[in-house]
Amino acid sequence: MLVGLVAPHRRAFAGLGLLMALSAALPIAASFAMARFVDRVIAQAPVSELVTVALTFAGLGLASSLLIVVVTWRSALLAWRLTNGLRHELASLVLNADLSFHRDRTPGELLTRCDGDVTALTSFLSAVVARIAGISMLAIASLVVMALVEPWLAVPMAVGFAALAWRGWSTRDTTTAAVTRERTIDSEMNSIIEQYVSGAEDVASLGAGAHGLRRFGDAARRLVDAMSLRTRAEMKVNSGLRAVILLTQIAVLGAGLLLFRRGGLGIGDVVLGYRLVDVVRSPVEHLTWRLMEAQGVSGAAQRVTELLEEGRRVDLGERPLPAGPLALEFSNAGLVYDDASQGEAALQHLNLRVEAGRVVGLLGRSGSGKTSAIRLALRLVNTTSGSVTLGGVDVGRVLEADFRRRVSAIPQDVQLFPGTVRENVTMFDSDLFDSDLFDRESQHTDERIVDALVSAGLGPWLADLPSGLDTMLSPDNRAEQDDRAGLSAGEAQLLAIARALLHHPDVVVLDEATARVDPVTQAAISVAVARLLDGRTGVIIAHRLETLSICDDIAVLADGELVEFGARVDLLTDPGSRYAQLLAMGAEAEELA
């Protein structure tokens, strides 16, 4: 995974390596200065010479200090560049993924994958990989220098450094399981907080706060246990590395004492050996505190890789759609969700043709397969048998970008983004509204946005907004702050109609688009919907029977099959048709009102 990310930054890596080599040389030079100082003190050299050596040591310290900062800066920059590429790729595939992908995962979990795990990788790269590279260079340089000065001192040093490398390598995964467990429980706990806080009104109005607290408490307990276990595993790694480098230093010092006793080695050389291990020891100890990031990372990398692999299975299609109006056809379409529904088909052998430019209204009880049918039409799921074609092309094979440009959906629950009204209508499409660059263009597009909102029946609402298109929308539909606009469920759906109007689609899919709208607004929308559907192919699920008056054809579904299909006018005049019967039931209800 990392190879593909690293390749474009080869030169930056080479530069960084060079800087690191340079920053390894300085502390080694300082060690020599210190050893010389000790030797010259013992030799009772003149004070002026001692002062010069001492100040040289000080100067080398200063230079090394500055270089470390540069190295840190370059490696952090590189790490962020690398991982921002990864963030882009992950977000892209999550946003491209279909319904079956999202059914298995909570949004919180996906956020952890796309953000938390990648951030773990980032700090691993900038804090750990870069430091390990620096330490390796220091260790090798120390060893070479030691071998040149006194080969016998280089022996324990070499053994110690090798043991350090071996220990580091062999404990690289010691805490992985514990860290993975901790993260899983942590995201579980966050998901519990997220669910209950967003459902706080439901819970509070049912007096069930203690239940939510209890669910939180159980997760919190497991989290504390998991963190304690993780810390213990971490300490095992941490103390191991510290003990190895410490014993190396003691061993070099011990060897120095033995050689001194045999004669031929000065105190300065012993000091040099001690210092040369010290220059490695201090960054190793610093590193041990950052190792948690290294340990968590193999789990994070694994999860990210899994997600990437799964994401690559998302088929974005390759065939373009033919120009002009498009017909939508279900041929023997069957759908079985692969989750807990135990193989029961949501749709079986659905045969339905929506002619180009005609609008079909889907009717049926909940669970009859209406929603599944439009999910197929929107390619949110793929058929398990049979096929769905758009303009004669299997929808599964249509180029994703083409498909989304030509097909607009008004979903059941309209999602708003934290952002302005303009951003929410254009869905952040900067080509449509980047006002910094194209000021005149932007006025032009602002007009289009306003037109779309007015056509969708949101004209009066827009006129009331404090800052017009620049008013911030509060994403949870509740205007908690005065400077933010809230939208009722009905108004949010009007906004979705405006979104669709802006994009001039060829096919429009409305899912219960009028369900939560009152009669007055209903009438206004009917006009907008009629305009939106004019000359376009449309599929509508509506519970208000009068909404169906826009439809050319009516399809009635039951238990995942088509049980009635015909021109609306024909079915209306046939008292035996299910459509006419449903209409009678609805009319009865209204008459009673």
Partner: protein, 559 residues
């Protein structure tokens, strides 16, 4: 500092005392860890002194062995102290989170806090802020450890050569102090990085939440471009933060070499020994942390204060009995604590009539609304979108604050509406009700003791029975992200069953049937009506209006 001024410290100690044994044992271990380098520093001095005076004698090897033992002991102390400390501090953090969750979920009463609807923001606050609050105590103990170490180390150095010790220590302490000032500036970088980071998470969370909308509207490319821009901003902020932190770390580790050089230059005028040089090298390095840790107590205090404030917006302002809303101890199963008690229901009061008089919520366009709900009746509130139907219901049962007006239950004024309007008195079903990632049965019970029989009755009453029969594992089916995702209509009826399972005197339904097909809708209303429930509902649906005993129409022109 005044007693008021030490409120922050007091509340942090209260939090630390939640699991005192683990916390303070761990903390003591850490303090010792900071003091302990005195011993190896002294021993390395002895090794070189002995070497210079008498050569590599057995005694020098003894010192070397003692050095190894001392260092191993220090490492062992860390291995013991850290996990112990983590247990204690994580329990304290869990306590703060629990207090916030409790306040957010409370049905009125003194323990309820102002409800926040921006969930992403609440999550970030509960994730990061307890950490910053508890960090203040860490700063205190780190400082204490460094102070003891600093005094002893300086005393050793001064006894070797006072001018040299001063020449090394004074500029070192000044540098450390200056570095501490830099740490204040580092906060600016940190805040910027955190803001940039939450901008990314917030946008990404909204994008993931709405991923299917993004997909069907073809907004994939534009959303990603926006994300890339936010990511680039964050990278810049994060690199700034990292570099700044490293500047401080690198000054602290290498500045000691600079001043060691200066101190040795001063000491060179006297008769230095190799052992004394080694002691200078060992002790001076540790001194630099002292002023910085001292400074961190102050900067950490400001940070802890800000973080405590960020959690406090989720909490009530005060608790009866003067307990601290942020850190008051409550049963929590962490480290052997008791399990939180199941929810307890208040006594039932049979409803004769509910009356609302002169209710005004100006921000929602509700002015002087009055209505009466008689026992056994169905009262429908209708009106155009934005006329305030939902707000009226939420205001009546206390989910929304009102500007003026009263609500009476059997003629008796209801003081704390949020606390009063809970089962078995009333139950509310929101327009888009929330279900949780639990089994369907757990979702319907919400911790209450409801018999299977009653549960099945409620499900039937809510016209949800055929749906439950079709579910793979019936009532044990997992609902939500990891299980079966219910349709909008199914969620509404599940929530209705959840409300009915508690046999409330009053049912408050916000457009309950908005996502239902005509047949199911008619079935639901006929069953509710036949069961004789008292219902207050917001709806414009013919089926609801058909069953209504009274209709209240809100007009949008109120505002």
């Amino acid at each position: 500092m005044t007693a008021q001024g030490l409120r922050l410290e007091r509340r942090i100690i209260t939090a630390a005392n939640f699991r005192p044994v683990q916390y303070w044992l761990g903390m003591t271990g850490w303090t010792m860890f900071f003091i302990s380098p005195i011993l190896p520093g002294w021993l390395i001095g002895r090794v070189f002194t002995e070497l210079q005076q008498n050569g590599a004698t057995p005694r020098s090897f003894v010192y070397l062995g003692a050095l190894a033992l001392a260092e191993i002991a220090i490492i062992s102390m860390m291995v013991f102290a850290h996990p112990t400390y983590i247990k204690g501090v994580e329990s304290s953090k869990a306590l703060m989170r629990a207090n916030a969750v409790e306040a957010q979920l409370a049905s009125g009463g003194p323990r309820s806090g102002p409800r926040k609807t921006a969930v992403g923001d609440v999550l970030v606050r509960l994730r990061d802020d307890p950490q910053d609050v508890m960090f203040l105590l860490d700063n205190w103990t780190d400082m204490l450890g460094s102070l003891v170490y600093g005094v002893v180390a300086f005393w050793f150095l001064a006894s070797i050569d006072l001018p040299a010790a001063l020449a090394g220590a004074v500029p070192l302490l000044l540098t450390g102090w200056g570095n501490g000032l830099l740490a204040n500036l580092a906060r600016v970088f940190r805040v910027r990085a955190r803001e940039a980071s939450s901008a990314v998470s917030g946008f990404l969370a909204a994008g993931i939440e709405a991923s299917l909308t993004v997909k069907v509207t073809g907004a994939h490319g534009s959303i990603l471009r926006r994300l890339d821009r936010l990511n680039a901003t964050r990278a810049k902020a994060a690199v700034g933060e990292t570099v700044w932190n490293d500047v401080m770390w690198s000054i602290n580790t290498t500045a000691s070499d600079v001043f060691l050089g200066i101190a040795l230059a001063v000491a060179a005028r006297g008769a230095l020994t190799a052992g004394e040089i080694a002691q200078f090298a060992a002790y001076l390095a540790g001194l630099i942390w002292l002023p910085m840790r001292l400074g961190m107590v102050f900067t950490g205090r400001r940070r802890a204060e800000v973080s405590a404030g960020r959690i406090e917006v989720l909490l009530p302002e005060a608790l009866p009995g003067g307990e601290d809303p942020l850190v008051h101890h409550q049963p929590l199963p962490v480290l052997g604590g008791p399990r939180i008690a199941a929810p307890a229901a208040p006594p039932a009061i049979p409803l004769a009539r509910l009356s609302v008089e002169g209710l005004t919520v100006a921000s929602r366009g509700l002015f002087d609304v009055s209505l009466v709900v008689e026992r056994g009746s169905i009262t429908v509130v209708s009106g155009v979108v934005g006329s305030g139907k939902s707000s009226l219901l939420r205001a009546v049962i206390g989910l929304l604050d009102i500007d003026s007006g009263v609500v009476r239950w059997n003629g008796v004024l209801v003081e704390d509406r949020a606390a009063f309007f809970v089962p078995p008195r009333s139950a509310y079903v929101a327009q888009a009700p929330r279900l949780f990632a639990e089994s369907l049965a757990d979702n319907l019970r919400l911790g209450f003791d409801v018999s299977d029989r009653d549960l099945l009755d409620a499900i039937e009453l809510a016209a949800f029975d055929s749906d439950v029969d079709a579910l793979p594992a019936g009532l044990a089916t997992m609902v939500g992200a990891r299980g079966v995702r219910l349709s909008g209509g199914q969620a509404q009826r599940a929530a209705a069953a959840r409300a009915l399972a508690r046999k409330p005197e009053l049912l408050v339904l916000d457009d309950l049937t908005s996502a239902l097909d005509v047949e199911t809708e008619l079935l639901l209303w006929s069953r509710l009506s036949a069961a004789g429930y008292t219902v207050l509902t917001a709806s414009n649906r013919p089926a609801a209006l058909a069953r209504a005993d009274a209709v209240i129409t809100l007009s949008a022109t109120h505002g």
